[in-house]
């Protein structure tokens, strides 16, 4: 850890701690989850960077959307995302959340994720290798440093629109809006 890092730690400990302690929601949203166990276990060992899976979204700050998202899962994803405390980051895996991927014509999977929840980064691949996950994390660090990983802020700011999109898809969401005073 060089001096630069230390001064950063003193300036904004929360931000730095957020960088080096990603607690991941363990949610098998799609097939990309198959590369999560290897990356958190012996061979790749994500815990070196403080990345560990946690059981509940309340304790997490990173949400990995691992692959395709069916409508049924999307509901759970939105619910989980809203349960996470801020600041929180979302990283989407693979082709499917970007533009539908393999399932671009499936009647049960959505084609692009960022219409429903904000996404801070996409990792290309089908599926991404563990290496890509690590490099994805380093990119996320850079984004956090530059204050560009602002998905949660966007969600708060544009909540009205996200909520409108979610309601357009689901008709009945089943839970009250997260932010009461969401406006432009």
């Amino acid at each position: 850890m060089d001096r630069n890092q230390i001064s950063k730690w003193f300036k904004n400990p929360g931000k730095m701690a957020n960088k080096y302690s990603f607690h991941v929601v363990y949610f098998c949203t799609g097939c990309g989850i198959i590369e999560i166990p290897p990356s958190i276990t012996t061979r790749w060992d994500a815990e070196r960077f403080g990345i560990i899976p946690v059981a509940t979204p309340r304790q997490a700050n990173l949400f990995l959307i691992t692959g395709y998202v069916s409508t049924k899962t999307l509901k759970a994803i939105i619910r989980t995302y809203e349960q996470m405390p801020e600041p929180k980051y979302t990283v989407a895996f693979g082709s499917c959340p970007i533009n539908g991927g393999m399932y671009y014509d499936s009647y049960n999977t959505i084609t692009s994720l960022d219409k429903y929840i904000p996404v801070d980064g996409y990792i290309a691949g089908c599926m991404p290798r563990p290496e890509a996950i690590f490099i994805g994390v380093t990119h996320l660090w850079k984004l956090i440093d530059m204050d560009k990983a602002d998905g949660y802020k966007r969600y708060r700011r544009d909540y009205k629109f996200y909520r409108a999109n979610q309601e357009q898809l689901f008709k009945e969401l089943g839970w009250p809006p997260l932010f009461k005073d969401a406006s432009l």
Binding site: T71, K72, S106, T111, S112, R154, F161, N165, L169
Partner: protein, 175 residues
């Protein structure tokens, strides 16, 4: 297998049976006979209910139900030696009035299959205790596995019509 064919033909009247070379027996029957046929075959040792499927023959206006049975085998011998194979039972029902008697009293594991077919094809299984949705969250006007369900059109209409956040904001600001 030939023996079984003879027995079946003697016992049931409205069957047409073909035996293929790879130990697959194809039985065409009526939907009323299916339950008793399955019962009979179960007692003959075909205890493994492998699959319940359905084909939408839209040109003929019919659904074809496929029941596939095989036998559990205690000792691992080849089929060729045991003279036991896979039995494929086919029954056609009308597409407009898709109703058939449930077989869960004969085979317990037919339950999720029937639920799924109900959901995907809209076939009503009489006597099934819970024909609740299994896989799907949304409701579809046409059950999605029917041939007249156009997935691409559906996707365009459903997911394509949802604007991205930027579009929605732009629309909002305009009005």
């Amino acid at each position: 297998m030939e023996e079984l064919k003879k027995k079946l033909l003697a016992y049931f009247t409205d069957l047409t049976i073909q035996i293929h070379d790879d130990y697959r027996m194809c039985i065409n029957t009526q939907k009323e006979t299916v339950v008793s046929l399955l019962n009979y075959l179960k007692n003959m040792g075909y205890e493994h209910f492998a699959l319940l499927s359905c084909i939408d023959w839209i040109d003929k206006g019919e659904f074809e139900l496929i029941y596939i049975l095989s036998a559990y085998m205690e000792v691992c011998d080849k089929y060729q030696e045991k003279e036991q194979g896979i039995i494929i039972i086919k029954a056609r029902i009308s597409r407009d009035d898709a109703k058939v008697i449930s077989v869960i009293n004969v085979f317990e594991n037919a339950e999720p299959y029937e639920r799924e077919l109900h959901e995907m094809f809209g076939i009503k299984f009489e006597g099934h205790p819970r024909l609740t949705p299994l896989m799907l969250e949304r409701e579809y006007e046409i059950p999605p596995f029917r041939k007249d369900f156009d997935t691409l059109k559906y996707v365009d209409n459903t997911f394509g019509k949802i604007p991205s956040i930027e579009e929605r904001k732009a629309n909002y600001e305009r009005t």
